[in-house]
Assembly symmetry: C3
Homo-oligomer: 278 residues x 3
């Protein structure tokens, strides 16, 4: 994956925009590669909410050109023994702490542990990952509380200049993932969970579009409410509606309103999809 000076580097953090932490990271990157193109995915991940960061990363990275470097920092364990990773996947490069933030980049897998909790998983075949141990690519001195600025940012800069992934550090064969159950039909019923609530109050679930193919005629239950059938556009909805959202997941929307508030749901709540009884 040869990189050029104009390589795109995206940034996703929970730092917010009220402080200048993100600005400092960008300064470090431009100090290494003044020609890098820097794009914010979001910096409003709820503080230390790794699941939310992982989901939001998943909604955006695929729309970038091959060779893009994605830097994701939601990092409650900064300065501890937790590893910092580079993951090569789908022709993109991902830099993140090893805490589950890259869960959606890999193919889904089921795990026998509580919903959304972290567990250690093997790196799937065909993927490569490295621990960021090559300190010559870090900014020194390294602050124990801001690896975004001192490790991830300069590493992204060097990768964008053509440093090879294998040179960033030691290869790893496992990483931390979050438990995200893969819904599949059993006895005419799919069970999923609320995954994310967006700014409009739309409620995104773990039920992927693929699971619903051929099952348009469904009844969806969430928080005591029942929705019959799926609509295709927000405008088509009249009150509470279910649809496949732009992320490719089943979601709930409310005409001129906030579906999450109406339903009183939160991340992790259950959603059930059944075949419609005629």
């Amino acid at each position: 994956m040869p990189a050029m000076s104009g390589t795109v580097i995206t940034l996703l953090t929970d730092f917010g925009l009220a402080d200048a932490y993100v600005g400092a990271m960008k300064g470090v990157i431009l100090g290494v590669n003044p020609g890098a193109t820097l794009i914010d995915l979001t910096h409003d991940v709820s503080p230390q909410d790794v699941l939310q960061g992982a989901f939001l990363l998943s909604t955006a990275w695929r729309y970038f050109p091959a060779g893009t470097i994605h830097v994701a920092v939601v990092d409650p364990g900064v300065g501890t023994e937790r590893r910092a990773l580079l993951l090569e996947a789908h022709g993109h490069l991902f830099l993140a702490p090893d805490n589950g933030l890259l869960s959606f980049i890999l193919p889904p897998e089921d795990a026998d542990a509580p919903l959304y909790q972290p567990y250690r998983a093997s790196l799937p075949q065909g993927y490569r990952a490295y621990a960021l141990t090559s300190s010559r690519y870090w900014r020194h001195p390294v602050s124990a509380t801001f690896h975004g600025r001192d490790i991830f940012a300069p590493m992204a800069g060097h990768l964008s200049l053509g440093v090879a992934p294998k040179d960033v550090g030691d290869p790893v064969d496992s990483l931390i993932r979050l438990v995200i159950p893969v819904p599949s039909w059993r006895d005419g019923q799919l069970v999923g969970y609320v995954l994310h609530i967006d700014r409009f109050g739309n409620v995104v679930t773990t039920v992927p579009e693929a699971a619903l193919v051929g099952h348009d005629d469904v009844v969806v239950e969430i928080a005591g409410a029942t929705v019959r059938g799926l609509v295709h556009t927000y405008a088509e909805a009249n009150g509470l509606a279910a649809l496949i959202g732009s992320h490719g997941y089943l979601e709930f929307a409310l005409t001129n309103g906030n579906a999450a508030k109406l339903l009183g749901v939160k991340v992790g709540d259950e959603v059930k999809v059944k075949v419609r009884e005629k």
Copy 2:
């Protein structure tokens, strides 16, 4: 209007920055034209508030170099039959849903309908507009709920690479505008309306600077309050003051405070300007 790889593309939406919708749009643009320069105007338009989006677009586009492409997406009708437009005006290109978002780009006109409501208007002489019907410039598959990512973003990318406006789709001779009355003096009185309230609580009205030329010695009434004369700077104000703001409209400001809260006004409230009685 020949475009180069370094063309500036601005983005204005109501998507907020907490999700990564804007990031996804930028990824799509950079996938088409990695050399585009992407600039955010704002993404904090109140959800589905077309008037606010239209006003905010009007406060920024003119400061960009000729040839800039402005992408504006406040789009309650996404996925319905509402058209998507390209408007050529003032040497700039504007991409937006056909719902009134481009109201301030065209010369003002009076319409016989309720304040700030949409109506269909003829395209004024000297302007050209097209419906974005050339699907070869879209991203496929097109989500019914996210034309920003799948239609407007790739179209902006292609225009920035030199695609001619006439190739984006069929020419149109009308578009939706919002009713924004043009204040003019009648019997020593001007009637305008609150158009926007900014982050500082400054109250921007529909009364343009041009209408006040030669009438410095005025009395302004709003929400039961009376302000005599105009000041020139915020620092000059002492309490509630009226001035011509940086947008070129009559606005109200409060020294060390929030004029909108003090007055208790909202968008659409009336403001009257009278010649001062000595």
Copy 3:
């Protein structure tokens, strides 16, 4: 300091991102230099809070490459006789109103005036500063309420194209600074103040790392709470903890919580550091 078309220009304001003021500034800069690289430090400085703006600027500028142009606009006195400045320092260029916003760029000094209040100080040896009086680099007409767009932005654009600092206007030999006491040990005690509270509720003080060298074994008092010893990472903390933050100052953090709320402190509150009694 020869500048190139790809020069980095950073922006820090209190304009927020809900309006398009920042977008307008960027349009003006790109109109002068389409090749400039524009980076936001933050635009969420509390309205007219010069101290906060000054601190946030200090946390980011040093991470940018030499030759970067930093535009900082927190400007309650816009349109009055207050000067607009260019400061050359540390191989960077700083554009700001003359109101204390550049306080942290210069070496610390003690002043006999109330905490965080502005006073006029001599420009230290080795620094150069100019008043932005060369109106040929301004955008005309100049709004009395938006020098960010009409003076600072175009000036930054011209500097990035290679205009020499000495050509922006008349040299000055003094500027406004804020009173920021320099803590030093007296009788085994250091007295500092709360300087900033960040998005996580971390409480940053005026006590610099340098003052604590060799004094790891300390007791810190703030708002009636006592913290013994310093930790090195947030994860290491268990409840309320004191540490040297990424900005290089003594700060307070609360495990999984908001230290500022727990302590009930605000900017300007006192903090005392003592040598630990065994």
